[in-house]
């Protein structure tokens, strides 16, 4: 029988919600389950209300489900705020010593003296979270040794690890004896090894695999964990991460490093990207390959700092004045985040332009299991290089006008060729010019790069029956939720399929027209208030979608939310 089960851990910032949630996700991933976990947190260091949802399934999952089967409530607010989400046979585990008068109409309450057990069995009442973790696993009679292994990995095999293992066992035993064998049964599935990682970790791994040697950034939620990961690996992988004074410096540093010949990137969120806009144009006119990660959050301005939105699409398509080519991609899944990051570096160098990768808080900080990444599939394309063996370096011109629009690159200091470029309009040799003919030739040369790049942006994802009546159109991180919603609707015999875009610019015009023109109804599903991909489709194809399912409260879509919205549209 297929298993689809949902945990939630709730509590204040600083109570350890994230680590309990992560360990839950990990212990089921180690048991062969597919896992999807997301994080909901406030912009504060202590207090407030945070929660971490962990969905485990015997089938692949890419979104959060509706009902909660087990809630670990580390404070009373977690019960009050989430009891309505409980499944009818759900269980709320809470610390009966601290939380008094708990009540819930849905699911049952399981009061456990977490602190007392932690103190008695592990000698430290701060280990109450681990007791709760053991208790939650016991409620489904999961394999305790799996948890021991995860705890030893996480806390080390020393004193701290051992005490956590003791705390988990005590929580597990307590629930076993209280429930008298009536617990549910979720057993490990297999020894299949999968990776469990976040979208930002996938981007970081992709960048390192692609040979990124330089990153400069300024901390901004939800992008900061990329710079932290890169900094942590900088020694081992011989790369440099500069914590710059501001976003303007960050993008300009990355451009300088890329000009000098290394793969370079920066990462930020919307209002940080606002500061970086001048750098997008600088990379455009100097034809410098850089990768810019925009981990979107709701705007404008500071908006909702810790929440999710897809509100930057129209911004990144247009950010900067003047005409020049760029590429925009938006990973659909955590696995896609790895591969698209590598592709972004290849495109940046093949076409010598800025590539913007749009992720968002939902994808950035959600965990998912994926099959181990096959590094033999990674290709590196550094584009056309100038060869001093074949050509005279004294004749090198950085911006030589070519048929393809791509000029061979040389790197300063590695040969005799002088690499000259300018943010002013320049001639082929790179020196500034105001000559009308040279200006026209350089603009045309740069724009010629769009057409071959456009031929590469064709990896549409389609799901559902061909020629269905209704097509759901999404882009970026909503893939998992829309995909599952299509499944839900098809079970109800609805004629529905989906089209999902992860390579948005240059726009895959023909493929989109082919897909949408067959459907009677077309709905975009977007985490923004105006339907930005609908605007893009209209602008590029002239096609008007028939409806827009939009969500801009900063919270991610769930499959059930989408299915219900589609049903409403159909009525």
């Amino acid at each position: 029988m297929p298993i689809d089960f949902n945990f939630m851990v709730g509590g204040e910032a600083g109570q350890g919600v994230q680590s309990v949630g992560f360990l839950l996700a990990k212990v089921f991933a180690c048991g062969g389950y597919h896992v999807f976990a997301d994080q909901d947190y406030e912009s504060r260091v202590r207090g407030g209300h945070n929660f971490f949802r962990v969905r485990i399934s015997s089938d692949k999952v890419g979104a959060i489900a509706k009902d909660v089967d087990i809630l670990i409530a580390l404070d009373s607010d977690s019960i009050r705020l989430h009891r309505a989400e409980m499944a009818s046979r759900g269980i709320i585990i809470f610390n009966g010593e601290k939380v008094k008068g708990a009540s819930s109409k849905k699911g049952s309450l399981l009061s456990i003296p977490l602190e007392k057990i932690a103190e008695e069995k592990a000698g430290d009442k701060l280990m109450l979270n681990t007791v709760a973790l053991g208790a939650a696993l016991s409620a489904v009679s999961y394999d305790l040794p799996k948890l021991d292994r995860v705890l030893a990995d996480h806390f080390g095999s020393g004193e701290v690890g051992n005490r956590n293992i003791a705390a988990a066992k005590a929580g597990y035993d307590y629930v076993q004896s209280e429930s008298k064998g009536k617990s549910g049964k979720i057993k490990p599935l297999s020894e299949v090894r999968r990776m469990l990682l976040t979208g930002n970790e996938a981007i970081s791994l992709g960048a390192i695999a692609a040979g990124c040697r330089f990153m400069a950034a300024y901390p901004m939620t939800p992008a900061s964990s990329i710079m932290e990961y890169m900094a942590a690996k900088s020694k081992e992988f011989e790369l440099v991460m500069v914590h710059a004074e501001d976003e303007i410096a960050a993008i300009n540093m990355a451009i300088g490093a890329a000009y000098a010949g290394v793969r370079a990137m920066t990462a930020t969120s919307g209002s940080g990207l606002c500061l970086m806009v001048e750098g997008i144009g600088l990379a455009g006119i100097t034809e410098t390959p850089i990768v810019i990660i925009d981990a979107q959050r709701p705007g404008p301005a500071v908006g909702l700092p810790t929440r999710t939105e897809q509100g930057d699409l129209q911004f990144v398509l247009h950010a900067h004045h003047g005409d020049f080519p760029r590429a925009v991609v938006a990973p659909a899944t955590i696995e896609d985040a790895f591969w698209l990051t590598i592709k972004a570096f290849n495109w940046a160098e093949r076409y010598q332009l800025p590539v913007i990768l749009l992720t968002d808080q939902h994808l950035a900080s959600s965990h998912a299991t994926i099959d181990p990444l096959d590094l033999s599939q990674v290709t590196i394309d550094r584009g056309i290089m100038f060869s001093e063996k074949e050509d005279d370096p004294s004749e090198y011109m950085r911006h030589r006008v070519t048929k393809s629009g791509v000029s061979p690159r040389a790197f300063p200091g590695l040969g005799k060729a002088l690499v000259v470029t300018d943010c002013d309009e320049h001639g082929e040799e790179g020196h500034l010019t105001e000559d009308a003919g040279q200006r026209t030739a350089q603009v045309r040369k740069r724009l010629r790069k769009i057409s071959p790049l456009n031929k590469e942006t064709n990896t549409l994802r389609k799901y559902g029956s061909r020629g269905a009546e209704t097509i759901l159109i999404g882009w970026g991180s909503t893939y998992g939720a829309i995909h599952e919603a299509v499944g839900i609707l098809r079970k109800e015999n609805a004629s529905v399929n989906m089209l999902h875009l992860n390579e948005l610019w240059p726009f895959p015009r023909k493929a989109v027209i082919d897909a949408v023109s067959k459907a009677r109804n077309s709905y975009v599903i977007e985490s923004n208030a105006t339907g930005q991909v609908a605007q893009l489709i209209k602008a590029e194809t002239g096609y008007d979608v028939s409806g827009r399912i939009l969500k801009f409260d900063g919270r991610p879509f769930t499959p059930h939310y989408i299915a219900e919205a589609v049903r409403k549209e159909a009525r």
């Binding site: 330089f214 900088s234 440099v240 300088g256 000098a260 290394v262 001048e278 590695l414 943010c423």
Partner: protein, 283 residues
């Protein structure tokens, strides 16, 4: 051997008599005397009349945005630590639009040289006050007089730059010797260069400077004394010191980067298989 013909660039589009000519000549002289060839040099400039300098000599050139020569210079230096990286700005570029980068590049003590053509006026936009215009200086944008000027020398010293000098465009030989010292110094080397603007600054003229500048080398002055240097940085008006104002061996940003200890990043090969061991951390 590097020669003068190696550094013969395009014909400058500066006004006749501009202080920039002296700075250009001093830079070329310094590079030739240090026997650095053009392909070993990267000149990163901003916007303004100073920003055009790299086009009028020879080398690798990244002419960047207004206020931004320093960040790409830092990025390029980290990417290829073997490059001689020289950033070139005017006073508006360095101390106005790029002020934050200037402070932080000094603080982190990056191993680059920064030449700032300081003519106390905006030349390219035709005569507006700059961040270093003398107090009360009347221009089209400051009809009631400019506000207090920034003090780049003092700022650089307190921010942590390890080499701070002031040169004068009217004394090419002296300036060339400062540029040589700046290039060979390990760490962030600021050379603020007093530069008459014959078109728009009719106060701080060649004559004005001639009456005021004096060389620290001619005095008993210890450039290794930070307190004395700060005191010297405040000297402006009747007497204006030029020369090395502060110089010390301080930790250099690039030296603390483990990734740079085995040669330049740009020479390293890309091998995606190296990531295999990271994948295991997520299993």
């Amino acid at each position: 051997m590097a020669t003068a013909s190696d550094y013969a660039g395009l014909q400058p589009a500066w006004c006749p008599g501009c202080g920039n000519f002296g700075i250009l000549k001093a830079l070329n002289t310094a590079l030739i005397e240090l026997n650095i060839e053009p392909h070993q040099v990267l000149l990163v400039s901003g916007i303004g009349q100073a920003g055009k300098l790299p086009h009028y000599t020879r080398g690798n050139v990244f002419n960047s945005l207004h206020g931004r020569p320093v960040p790409p210079a830092i990025g390029a230096k980290i990417a290829n630590s073997e490059l001689v990286v020289i950033a070139v700005s005017g006073d508006g570029d360095a101390y106005g639009e790029g002020g934050n980068h200037f402070l932080h590049a000094a603080r982190r003590n990056h191993n680059i040289t920064y030449l700032v053509h300081n003519n106390q006026i905006y030349g390219l936009t035709k005569g507006q006050a700059s961040p270093t215009s003398d107090v009360g200086f009347v221009t089209k944008t400051t009809p009631y007089g400019a506000a207090n000027p920034v003090n780049p020398i003092a700022l650089a010293i307190v921010s942590g730059a390890s080499f701070v000098a002031r040169g004068y465009a009217g004394d090419m030989d002296h300036l060339a010797s400062l540029v040589k010292k700046g290039i060979t110094h390990r760490g962030f080397a600021l050379i603020d260069i007093l530069q008459p603007c014959v078109s728009f600054n009719h106060k701080n003229t060649y004559q004005w400077y001639k009456e005021r500048v004096y060389k620290l080398e001619d005095k008993k002055y210890n450039s290794g004394d930070r307190k004395a240097a700060l005191e010297k940085a405040l000297e402006w008006g009747e007497r204006i010191p030029i020369g090395v104002i502060y110089e010390e061996d301080l930790p250099v940003y690039e030296d603390q980067l483990p990734a740079l200890s085995n040669g330049p990043l740009v020479k390293k090969k890309i091998d995606p298989r190296r990531v295999e061991r990271l994948l295991a951390e997520f299993m």
